[in-house]
């Protein structure tokens, strides 16, 4: 893998800070979130970990617009931001890479990257919806290149790519459009070790571009070394957020499973 290109040159992201404040969410009688608070910094990889039912996925869905919180506030750059839909989140520059990737397998990587945001030619071409394929190809190749991703061809159907490559294409799509944060739900759940490594490289390159990357993962040993900070959730709250340099896998697991915070 090539190292990512210096972010100063190509980064389109401005540094945005996101804060989830006291988020609650009830589904009928079940309280999935009981006042979760989380700060997310630009340019960092923030891992969100916790046992099943701790509320990780629900908290991420609140950020990506797939779930509307019962109460609480989402603050972006100090201003309250209402995120009631995926479209709202995307307008705020927050894009999600879904666990099942949400790709069209028969379409090429470049078409998947641009689906719903196709670039059109100018003039009459725009009116009849003529695709600017050359420009789209150039930008898709650039985006993959910036993330250090190498795939056989951006013109081949993503069906033909390996799992890690497909995940990398999905991340490239999010990075291309995100200006604030990329949210990833279990990005390596279905992948082997080698493919996981590809995806982790891509995640680091994404953060290096100035975007906040929030990763939900069960892969504790790897995520502790990948992330800058680790938010540990339990019973619908964020128990504690640790700097990864000042903690270790054992401590994270103990906190996840019920130990008290000693720091």
């Amino acid at each position: 893998m090539r190292p990512p290109v210096s972010t100063a040159e190509r980064s389109t992201a401005r540094a945005h800070a996101i804060e989830l404040r006291d988020i609650t969410k009830s589904f009928g009688h079940i309280q999935a979130l009981r006042g979760a608070t989380l700060q997310i910094r630009a340019g960092e990889v923030l891992a969100v970990v916790g046992d099943n039912g701790a509320g990780k996925s629900t908290l991420m869905k609140a950020l990506s617009g797939n779930v509307v919180p019962t109460s609480g506030e989402i603050v972006i750059d100090g201003a309250s931001a209402e995120i009631a839909s995926v479209a709202d989140a995307q307008r705020r520059g927050i894009f999600t890479v879904y666990q099942d990737l949400a790709q069209a397998p028969d379409l090429s990587a470049l078409e998947n990257v641009f689906l719903g945001r196709e670039q059109l030619l100018g003039g009459i071409g725009r009116r009849i919806g003529l695709l600017a394929r050359g420009e789209m190809r150039r930008r898709a190749e650039q985006a993959l290149d910036d993330l250090g991703v190498t795939i056989p061809s951006v013109s081949r159907p993503v069906r033909d790519l390996s799992g890690g490559q497909r995940q990398a294409v999905a991340i490239a799509r999010a990075v291309m459009w995100a200006t604030t944060a990329v949210v990833m739900d279990e990005p390596t759940a279905a992948l082997g070790a080698r493919q996981t490594a590809i995806v982790y490289d891509t995640i680091k390159a994404t953060a290096a571009r100035g975007l906040a990357v929030v990763v939900v993962s069960h892969d504790i040993p790897n995520i502790v070394s990948l992330a800058d900070r680790i938010a540990i959730m339990r019973h619908g709250r964020v128990l504690v957020t640790l700097e990864s340099e000042k903690t270790n896998v054992d401590e994270v697991l103990r906190l996840m499973l019920g130990a008290e915070v000693t720091q």
Partner: protein, 354 residues
Amino acid sequence: MNSVRELAALGDVDPRVAAAAQQTALGRTVRSTTLWVAVALLAIILLFGALSDGVFLRADNISDMAVNSVIAVILAVGATFILGAGLLDLSIGSSLLLCSIVSAKVTTALAGSAEEVAAGVYPNLALGIAGGVAAGIACGALLGAVNGLIVTRLKLNSFIVTLATMGIFNGIALIVTNGVNVPNVPQQLQTDFAGSKLAGIPLPVFLAAIVAAAMWFVLTKTRFGMRTLAIGSSEEAARRANVPVDRHIVSLFVLMGVLAGIAGIVDLARFGTTNLEGHQTDALAAFAATVIGGTSLFGGRASVGGAVLGALIPVVLATGLVILDVVSFYQLVVVGVILILAVWLDQLRRSRFN
């Protein structure tokens, strides 16, 4: 992009992926269904040419076959978009019929008074034909919109919806005509359009060629075409990418309806009358042609060129068999076998990577 070999050396590429990437353009062409359909069609044509001592290959026979294929080609090209989006439209034969009736009725109503038209006199012929063409196309758009709105608003499977509207449109066609074909359609439609040639090529063939070329362009070069295949490949992915999927599906059915309307006008012009009994199997033939031409039965992958070739095969077979004095019913058997082969090939290709 870096070479695949370099990547494969690093060991992080699935060998099947590396193999796929190393396919040359030639390799991919050899694997394309469209090419094989073209080869098969050419072989059939040459075989008939040889067996018939060249009669089959005479210009007038080629021209006749082209004209006989026009309606099938127009419908198959539309079916390519519908199937490419993972949808079906079984109502296109009934739509064609109903629109040809609407077109005929509007034409005869506008072309002159009832007495004049009954006597074969059309004082307002141009108005009548212009009105008839507009009405036929509008009818198709309307029927397509009905299909599309039922599919998207009621969230019903397009197979069932169009199975139902096939019966409904056919029923309406029989109701408005009392089961009798519309009489007194101006002969000029036959003489000046259907039977007329430009540079030796029949006008309807020009029409079909323009329709096919335009639809090929839309499928391969425009956002509309790309989103059509995206919906067929993964409707969920398209929705998450904020593609207005429901609106797109309605547009696809309207497009199919308009093409059925145009085909209805061609049908009217060719035979000088409506054809109440003649379109029961049009939809099945159109989707068969589309699948034979390489469009995936499951959507996501489509070929307009393949659909055109697929639509030509039954006409070529039927004509050749007639010339050879063989009962042309064998055509049905052969087309059925080809259809099964085409679907089987599609399935093999899908299972290779999954």
